[in-house]
Symmetry: C2
Subunit: 344 residues, 2 copies
DNA sequence: TTGTATGCGTTATCAG
DNA sequence: CTGATAACGCATACAA
């Protein structure tokens, strides 16, 4: 017996003396086929080790059951949680995920888009690269009505859904919290305001200041790439500022932690001299001392919601109109890094 | 102009009054086609926005240019680095990755294997779930000669490659380092010895003790699931041990850090009273105070090597015989958590 | 409820 | 160097 040969519906049909059409329908659980023949076919399929050929089916149906994902980079705690969430629902719905990294470069993002387009993904989930400003590389998808969903780093775009948190509100809460602790000279560490997440956080920061009648100062905004190095650089910069700031609100935990460590190194006491709030609730926030106050950012859930929404749109089941935005809940988690009045 | 219709080789052929065979060959850059016609075809393809149909090609060639990946979970720093490395080489070689998580369960691992098998992946990259002991779910791949590569959590298996580090040596170095700092009562926190990584680390730990004529004590081996909770539990346990241990070698940084934090909470001084060495060089190891001595574990590189090796085998280019094992370099990184003699 | 026939877009085998 | 043609395995319109 040649177990190396794939068994096809032809084999099943021949063996049962029926047509391949019936076999095909039975395998799809088409209600038009009688229960009896269905059972016969299912049994034989199992026995002969039949597995359906996705290419043939895809070629026929023009669908792939595959979802493309483009993200800046996968190796951050947040992103890997997002991917885990997507994988979770995609797998359970019979979809596969093809994941590609833009490495924060528009060029790579464009190349990835082309690849995924050529792979005929049924839908696309995107978190934009840092400096992407044109969206022309997604136009082929839009033209072909391939559903496109942005998550986290989103952009307003007709015909596409956005999954995100309310960054403005989160930043507003973070800043207001610092003010409530008596802090007035609050520095904001962030990335250049090219992406919604940074624009909105800056906006929330500004609004909180304004609502408490604290003047916004442009020199209190430290712009970098939010890396650990950027955090250390920010620390060096902060050290020289006069008067010395009494709080920092960073747009990302990693950067906040690096900044904290560098300042501690210089002998600055946290939170006594300067309080800290980060963003993301990364695991490091509970390891650094003092533990970092931060915004809890539901990565896993965001991945699940993004995948679920896209799949619903693919099935045409979605009640949500394509152009909508889904806002996930986020919350301020207060830890020691920001508690208590200034003591210096 | 109906831009919604896909353009096929038929369209190109008709327009140029040549056969689809020639078009197909030209597109594949077959040397048998003349340079001139090749150029003509390439130009027209570009102009008409032709893109090749992978299903049709796959159906014909019985290949998918897709690699399946099964991992315990994606959302750890190490694993996401591995995936990033794989994505890097896979994309650059024209392969796609389908990633699935076993969530440390054999059942899900089996289900994932079935799915990937049905998706006709060209090859499979696997890091085994925690309690997998039978490999029957991979037999369909082996039977069909679909290359199978294990990485990190590997298993000896005829016809499949393993990519890993020398866990025994790394653990030996870690333990020897602790001993060189004057530590004698060294606790080892690990997972049940079902997977090579834990077996080998335990072995290295034992061997280092033996070589320094320190008696191995079974009650110094704390077994758990290496989670943060397990780390805290271990701390509670350690606290009660008499005499109090003077060092901990944990099989994973996350767990080590949680244990350190819990002990510090109890007022135990590190490294004065008890020294720590972890495993993985996770980012938290440079955030915890004191910074954690650890084994640098090349995740990104491991992903690259695994993908490269698999792709080479797919192309039949590999000089490496299928049954071989590739050992990546790892190294002990000494930080403050393990330096200095005991002072209590 | 079942069967027949066709096409999905390629690649590969021949024959020129 | 090029062309005609036959698969690849499945889904479906149409017929029975």
């Amino acid at each position: 017996m040649d177990s190396d040969k794939e068994v096809t519906i032809y084999d099943l049909a021949r063996k049962l003396n029926i047509s391949i059409a019936t076999v095909s329908r039975a395998l799809k659980d088409d209600p038009v086929v009688s229960k009896k023949t269905k059972k016969k076919i299912a049994d034989l399929a199992l026995e002969m080790g039949y597995r359906s050929n996705n290419f043939a089916r895809n070629l026929r149906t023009q669908r792939t059951n595959t979802i493309g994902v483009i993200i800046p980079r996968i190796n951050s705690y947040f992103m890997s949680a997002v991917i885990a969430g997507m994988e979770n629902v995609a797998t359970s719905e019979g979809y596969n995920l093809i994941i590609s990294q833009s490495s924060e470069s528009v060029e790579k993002e464009t190349a990835n888009a082309v690849t995924l387009f050529n792979n005929r993904v049924d839908g696309l989930l995107v978190s934009l690269a840092y400096d992407t400003d044109s969206l022309t590389h997604f136009e082929p998808f839009i033209k072909k009505k391939i559903p496109l969903t942005f998550f986290d780093r989103t952009v307003d775009q007709k015909d596409s859904t956005c999954i995100q948190i309310n960054n403005l509100k989160a930043a507003y809460e973070a800043t207001t919290h610092l003010i409530s602790q008596g802090r007035r000279r609050i520095v904001h560490i962030t990335a250049p305001p090219k992406r919604n997440v940074y624009v909105d956080r800056l906006q929330g920061y500004k609004q909180a200041l304004a609502d408490q009648r604290i003047a916004f100062r442009q020199d209190y905004v430290i712009v970098g790439n939010l890396s650990q190095e950027a955090g250390a650089d920010a620390a060096a910069h902060i050290r020289q500022m006069k008067p010395f700031p009494d709080a920092v609100f960073a747009a990302n935990d990693n950067c906040a932690v690096a900044c904290m460590l560098a300042l501690k190194q210089m002998g600055v006491r946290i939170p006594e001299e300067i309080a800290f709030v980060g963003f993301n609730n990364d695991p490091v926030s509970t390891v650094v001392e003092p533990n970092l106050t931060t915004i809890n950012y539901p990565g896993y859930e965001m991945g699940q919601v993004a995948a679920r929404n896209l799949i619903d749109r693919l099935g045409g089941t979605s009640g949500i109109r394509p152009t909508n935005t889904i806002i996930l809940r986020s919350e301020l988690i207060i830890r020691e890094s920001s508690i208590g009045q200034k003591t210096v």
